[in-house]
């Protein structure tokens, strides 16, 4: 997973978006991977009594995924993309300008969403006995 996130950051850098690559490294490699590692460490308490890691509908799921990739691939190959050969690099200052002018409202909504997520995570991560005390 971490290799996948890192190579995605490399692809963003190739596509002329170094700021997105930096954000990918910071958020995914730095934050989300560590979060998931902590979750796995907290939950895998050695009781590996798994019969199989997959559902019994794994074949159907594989079929659905193959259909999706086939449809998207067909659409991508059949579409005429014009002369899309030049990679336009992103200028960070103009990106910041559009982020804070044209897209200022999504930015503010996003900050509100992050605040709500932080509060929700803190509420969910409390100890169960605190909940019982709060309920009684």
């Amino acid at each position: 997973m971490m290799v996948c996130f890192g190579s995605l950051a490399g692809m963003y850098a190739l596509l002329g978006a170094p700021i997105v690559a930096a954000a990918q490294v910071l958020i995914y490699l730095g934050a989300i991977s560590v979060l998931i590692l902590f979750a796995i460490m907290l939950t895998q308490a050695g009781d590996a009594n798994l019969p199989s890691p997959f559902h019994r509908q794994a074949i159907l799921a594989a079929l659905a995924a193959l259909v999706v990739v086939g449809l998207i691939g067909w659409a991508v190959v059949r579409t005429d993309w014009g002369n899309a050969t030049v990679i336009v690099s992103i200028v960070v200052s103009s990106l910041a300008e559009s982020l804070f002018t044209v897209y200022a409202l999504p930015f503010e909504i996003l900050s509100l969403l992050l605040l709500a997520a932080i509060i929700g995570a803190i509420y969910l991560a409390r100890r169960p006995e605190d909940d019982e005390q709060a309920n009684s």
């Binding site: 997973m1 996948c4 996130f5 995605l8 692809m11 963003y12 596509l15 978006a17 700021i19 997105v20 954000a23 958020i27 995914y28 989300i32 979060l35 998931i36 979750a39 796995i40 907290l42 939950t43 895998q44 798994l50 890691p53 997959f54 559902h55 509908q57 159907l60 799921a61 594989a62 659905a64 995924a65 193959l66 999706v68 990739v69 998207i72 691939g73 991508v76 993309w81 899309a84 050969t85 030049v86 990679i87 336009v88 992103i90 103009s94 559009s98 982020l99 897209y103 999504p106 930015f107 996003l110 969403l113 992050l114 709500a116 997520a117 932080i118 929700g120 995570a121 969910l124 991560a125």
Partner: protein
Amino acid sequence: MGLQSYLIVSALLFAIGMFGFLARRNAILMLISIELMLNAVNLSLVAFNAYAYYANNDTGAVFALLVMAVAAAEATVGLALVIAIIRTRHTPEVDEYSDLKE
């Protein structure tokens, strides 16, 4: 090489994430698969942006950054929920979460 190859890589990533989400039994691995799908969408957004398919030059990158922040929030709340559920049910298997059915 070009826009098509990036889009096909993005479609493959999305399909892998979709298969993982549909077929895995572990709730944490399902969350990882959701992250994979969001990453695939981000890759296609940045690819479209790089080949100048938007009127504004920075639209794709801005969208990718916003999607990344939403993904971070989603991972935080999702993992907190999963850990809270595992604390009460003592298993990460989604098949075992059948209280509402009984």
